[in-house]
């Protein structure tokens, strides 16, 4: 009888657990003045062919280096290294820059060591935007909100292995001129 009670308690815990409200999954990434890397530092790997997330930039995304060569350096938002590759060999990321007084989003890939960038669109400060980065056969497909997708061919990589996630990073060569905050929520 005691055993039965324990098993019933176990099942009850499972059922109650399944009815919990959804948690707020936004993570705040902060790049401090003079730094490239953001905190919190997380080690995580990709688990499906689609990386879907929402991102919110605030006014800290506005910066002015007063030199075009530095101003159009791409700052990394989110992406992944491709199968068992280092990210400077094969990877795909969304990146951003404050340029022409607007926040521009680009697709940014390394394909067999060669860097490829394509403009995707513009987003507003303090606005939630939806991003999708998918592996579709031999291509990376980038989509911002409901805009037309942008695709970049993948390099010659394996199919089964480690795809590690690449988190927000400022630069380029220059570090963050002031503290920058980005909120990200990865959809599951």
């Amino acid at each position: 009888m005691k055993t039965l009670h324990l098993i019933l308690a176990f099942i009850t815990v499972l059922l109650i657990n399944a009815c919990e409200p959804e948690a707020d999954l936004y993570r705040k990434f902060v790049i401090r003045t003079g730094e490239h890397y953001s905190t919190t530092r997380i080690v995580q790997s990709l688990q499906s062919n689609n990386l879907r997330f929402d991102a919110i930039f605030d006014a800290s995304a506005i910066y002015d280096f007063q030199q075009e060569g530095f101003q159009d350096s791409k700052n990394k938002l989110l992406g992944f290294s491709d199968c068992n590759s280092l990210h400077h060999e094969n990877s795909a990321r969304f990146v951003w820059q404050w340029f022409n007084n607007r926040l521009e989003i680009y697709a940014y890939c390394y394909v067999n060591g060669e860097r490829i960038e394509k403009f995707i669109g513009v987003v507003n400060i303090d606005e939630v935007n939806h991003y999708e980065l998918s592996i579709v056969g031999d291509r990376y497909v980038f989509q911002l909100n409901h805009a037309d997708p942008v695709s970049i061919d993948r390099g010659s990589v394996c199919n089964t292995g480690l795809y590690y996630m690449l988190w927000p990073y400022f630069g380029g060569s220059l570090p963050a001129p002031h503290t920058i905050t980005i909120q990200l929520k990865i959809a599951n």
Partner: protein, 142 residues
């Protein structure tokens, strides 16, 4: 994968003779939904263990159920503390999600022996970068 399994099992067999083969089934609540798993672990007298597991989520769309995020591979178990009915272990699962993506997930488990051969396990781990909770029922086969 097969080579890895053979190496793991043979190395554990070298350390100590197995006391039990433990079969378990349960559920894990993760940030990517509830997942259900089965496992078979080869366990030594001192609660070291190595085994295989299979876990899947279930996607219910329009009355149709499909498996999602299937995760299978090998698990390694190391003891932290043990009493007659209660034991604490650290478990590291390594395997493939969706047959393609290599994933490593650590967890901490507490096991309660209810009868001589069966019991339950509750655990806390890290899955997809967020905490997860698990509960299992297990039985010692041999």
């Amino acid at each position: 994968m097969k080579t890895l399994l053979v190496i793991l099992f043979s190395s554990f067999a070298g350390i100590s003779i197995a006391q039990d083969i433990v079969a378990a089934a349960g559920a894990e609540k993760t940030v990517i939904g509830n997942h259900y798993d089965v496992s078979l672990v080869f366990e030594t007298r001192k609660s070291w263990g190595a085994g295989v597991f299979y876990q899947t989520g279930i996607n219910r769309d329009g009355g149709e159920s499909r498996l999602k995020n299937q995760f299978y591979g090998v698990s390694l178990q190391a003891p932290i503390a043990k009493s007659q009915r209660l034991s604490f272990t650290v478990v590291l699962r390594t395997g493939l999600v969706n047959e393609k993506f290599l994933v490593v997930t650590p967890s901490f488990e507490t096991r309660l022996l209810i009868t001589q051969k069966a019991g339950m396990t509750v655990g806390a781990g890290l899955r997809s970068g967020y905490p997860s909770l698990s509960a299992k029922l297990f039985v010692r086969l041999f």
